[in-house]
Amino acid sequence: MASNTATPTMAKPMAKDYKSDVVSDWCAGCGDFGIVAAVQGVYAELGIPNHQIISYSGVGCSSKSPHLMHTYGVHTLHGRSIPFSTGTALANPDVKVVVTGGDGDGYGIGAGHFLHAGRRNVNMTYLVYNNEVYGLTKGQASPTLAYGEQPKSLAVPNPNDKVDPLALAVNAGYTFVARSYAYNRTHLMATIKRAMEHRGMAIVDILQPCPTYNNLHTKEWYGEEVEMSGANYPRVYDIEAEGYNGMVQNPADAEEVNRKEIAALTKIRTHEDRVAIGVFWQIEKPTFMDRLTMTNPKLGDTPTYKMVIADADGNPTTDLSATYAEFLTTS
């Protein structure tokens, strides 16, 4: 079994150290550029060795992100980034697993996995580029597009209601639930960093203008001010700057958990005229690995990727004789 010794950490990594040689094929003005740059900036701030980051994705414009990262990249199937990455996170808890993907990928075809990832609280970070459309397949409605809306590729107005992925995430058990915006680099970087530092399943839904197909919710639209009771306010606003704190201080305190959960769901729901960004919900809970280790202590001692299964001559090291005995007629 190959060892996973780390190379010495770079002196002071810069965002560019996490850029691969690949030139992106995204449309000019796509919100995805800013997200990738923010992620690279966070990697630099955290100083994680390149080979210890596993960049996962599904399929879509956004899901090409791993190829732009100078890290291990796993560009999986449409909608399946979560189960693939869960396998990696469970088998090798020593690496940092970061999943990126689109709203169609995560909340449409991958909706089942999206939900169950919360139930498991796997230790990883999930960044969803939410542009309300299926970019790569030319702009069809995604699950986050509201009923009746008709971005330019739709032949008829959207007949489906939208889902609120973050409300779902809170209910499903995600332990870090946030929203950010592709063109607010400072907020985006701070939020991704907090998500990566969180121990457990973290999701950041990132509002991402798609200038090619979403002509309704553009960079300009997000940048507008909206009028409320006679005064003008920025459309996108940071709830935490207004004093909101979604962090549960004492996870054992049912009253606090309940109160904060209701507050989080209420805040998440304000995605109407104005768009709330920030961390809505954060709680410490045992991760999936913690839970599995309770019934399978060996996993806690040695992650499966490091378990020795053969000696130098290839002889299997697993000794089954005690188990065989249970099946032998002589016992």
Partner: protein
């Protein structure tokens, strides 16, 4: 009635009843009792796709020599309620016997053939008395009807009680050990009741010709079922990640592995569906962890896209498909061999996939072990086609042999190699050309997290580092490279792991078969050979890459070729014709969902081989409830 010559160690027994009433535990106990007495056993389990009430039964065949199939005649039918007595009474052969509860069914309602002994065992009466003797509430004691039934059964065959006690203590260990004495009491009651029973002036035991004699000198056997054999093969191979979504008959394997996690450290994860299961196993495999997933037909279909991705990214992963009756949900608890072609062709666009089809319990263990080596050596998904018949049936087998079992991880890059390559090309900044072309189609593989091994995976066509490219020349190189592995595999894998030929090599007739269908054919073979039906049996074990050369060599010598498998469209025959050009002359088939017995195999082979017609003939078998 005077006793005829006893028929020793050739016994076929059926026990049946509503699901959840202890049919399985009775069958286990009887089988184990015979096995510890040095007899060879084969237990065939049939059950409905319901949890309670649906009728289930187990047929146990006991023999003085090793066996791997059931037979159609039933010598003794044991029942303790009405349905089994009604359903199976007509299967008992003349000279056989039926044990029934006169409290629930009258002798006249038993639809038996002439000359079948009808033995009334008043379960309630006997157990009420036992409850009194034990000073226990009757309700508590009455649940032991099924145990009493085993005692009654074994009295009929003159069995030695000591072996029953031994078997019972083997079954009830640890916390359950305290159940042994009470159960022994019930067994003894059943046993003594039959021993004392007279009918028409003589002992019923004497009127029943089938007897079992212990063979204490028999070599030790394992009592095994297919799902457990696979699980043990996985543990031996060092599989440390198993994912699954519950489905009959595959989940028994994962549930067993769950029970072994503490001991062996394997991580078993129940997923949200079969798509997640295959993807999660692949994600774990990318870290270098030996990983697997296990499923049955409908779940196997769901895995197609994930299997294709694994093949495209050259990820070693092992997928077991326990075939059951299809199409769709089909016969969810019954047997069929219907997935061969869907396995060989699973997933769109020409991915290299290996398909292995073990054909007996020992091969379930060995081929599972080998599958992990193939996956690592050829860096591609390996599908193991198992089935409900061996998967769910329980039999005595020669203990697993670990001889020569070596773990081969293939071209897994060591840290030293990666560091050396990185120092030669510092401009790569730790990137590694994981998908570079290679003569044998297999390139050096780094695993996620390894320093200086950085590469990218993608479902798209890629360059050597794993970045997307649609360059036509590169495309050609990589398609060739991936599929070249299949030629490497067939050249490297020992022929005995590709196919096996049983019986006289110079026979003019060859039967082509695979999977569990081998069992009844080989059981029928000695008698058929001695009756002058000369044939050999070619069992294909590696389905993809297909052993074209070896199979052609054998089929070219056969004047008559008979395809014998359990699916409507003769999928192995189709595959063989596609790969080798050889067609079958005749077919033997069965698709009722019930496995083929030795009895059926023998008569079908006889029928085809005695037929004088030269036109294509198909015998479609259908026996069994």
């Amino acid at each position: 009635m005077p006793t005829e010559t006893p028929i020793v160690n050739h016994f076929s027994w059926t026990i049946g009843g509503p699901q959840g009433t202890g049919v399985d535990s009775s069958a286990n106990l009887l089988l184990r009792s015979c096995a510890v007495a040095g007899l060879y056993c084969y237990g065939k389990r049939e059950y409905h796709s319901t949890i309670k009430t649906g009728h289930s039964y187990t047929q146990v065949r006991v023999s003085g020599i090793p066996i791997s199939s059931h037979v159609d005649p039933v010598h003794l039918l044991t029942t303790y309620e009405k349905t089994a007595a009604k359903i199976h009474a007509d299967e008992v052969v003349t000279g056989g016997a039926i044990i029934y509860d006169p409290g629930v069914i009258s002798a006249d309602d038993l639809n038996c053939q002439d000359g079948v002994l009808k033995i009334a065992v008043p379960y309630d009466e006997i157990l009420d008395k036992l409850a009194e003797e034990m000073g226990q509430p009757a309700a508590k004691v009455k649940i032991m009807k099924n145990t009493l039934a085993v005692g009654a059964t074994l009295a009929m065959v003159n069995f030695d009680m000591a072996y029953i006690e031994k078997a019972l203590s083997g079954l009830f260990k640890g916390r359950k050990a305290k159940l042994v004495p009470d159960n022994m009491l019930a067994i003894r009651k059943g046993f003594e009741y039959i021993q004392a029973m007279q009918m028409n002036g003589s002992s019923v035991v004497d009127q029943f010709p089938y007897k079992l004699e212990a063979q204490p000198d028999s070599p030790a056997q394992m009592i095994m079922s297919g799902t457990t054999a696979v699980a043990l093969g996985k543990l031996k191979a060092g599989c440390k990640m198993q994912t699954y979504y519950p489905i009959t008959p595959a989940s028994d394997e994962s549930v067993y592995l769950e029970s072994q996690q503490k001991e062996y450290g394997i991580n078993v994860v129940q997923c949200e569906d079969e798509i997640a299961s295959v993807c999660m196993a692949v994600g774990a495999a990318l870290t270098g962890t030996r990983s697997a997933t296990s499923t049955s037909c409908p779940g196997f279909g769901l895995k197609a896209e994930g299997i294709g991705w694994a093949a495209m990214n050259e990820v070693p992963v092992v997928i077991h498909d326990y075939q059951r009756g299809g199409p769709s949900t089909g016969l969810p608890t019954r047997h069929e061999q219907g997935d061969l072609l869907s396995a060989v062709f699973i997933s769109h666009g020409n991915p290299p996939r290996m398909v292995v089809a073990p054909s007996d319990m020992n091969e379930y263990f060995e081929d599972t072990f080998h599958a992990f080596n193939y996956a690592d050596q050829y860096q591609t998904p390996v599908i193991v086609l198992t089935d409900k018949c061996i998967g769910n049936n329980t039999m005595t087998i020669t203990p697993f042999s670990e001889e020569g079992l070596k773990i081969n991880r293939g071209k897994l890059a060591t840290q030293d190699e990666l560091d050396r390559l990185a120092s030669l090309k510092p401009e790569l900044k730790g990137q590694f050309p994981r998908f570079g072309d290679s003569d044998d189609g297999v390139s050096m593989r780094s695993v996620l997290g390894q320093a200086n091994g950085i590469y990218w995976n993608t479902g798209d066509e890629r360059d050597a580092y794993g970045h997307i490219t649609e360059d036509p020349d590169n495309r050609q190189v990589l398609m060739n490279k991936r599929l070249r592995k299949m030629a490497t595999a067939i050249a490297e894998i020992p022929e005995s792991q590709q196919f096996q030929l049983y019986g006289p090599k110079d026979a003019d007739t060859t039967i082509l078969t695979w999977g569990s269908t081998k069992g009844p054919i080989l059981d029928a073979m000695p008698q058929l050979l001695s009756d002058g039906f000369k044939f050999n049996v070619l069992v294909v074990r590696l389905m993809s890459p297909y052993p074209v050369e070896g199979v052609s060599r054998i089929l070219s010598k056969a004047k008559t070729k008979i395809g014998f498998e359990m699916n409507h469209t003769h999928q192995l025959a189709q595959l063989t014709r596609m790969e080798t050009g050889f067609s079958m002359d005749h077919f033997i088939n069965k698709f009722t969902g019930r496995p083929i017995s030795e009895t059926e195999a023998a008569s079908a082979i006889r029928e085809i081989m005695s037929s004088t017609t030269t036109s294509k003939k198909e015998v479609v078998l259908s026996y069994g409830k």
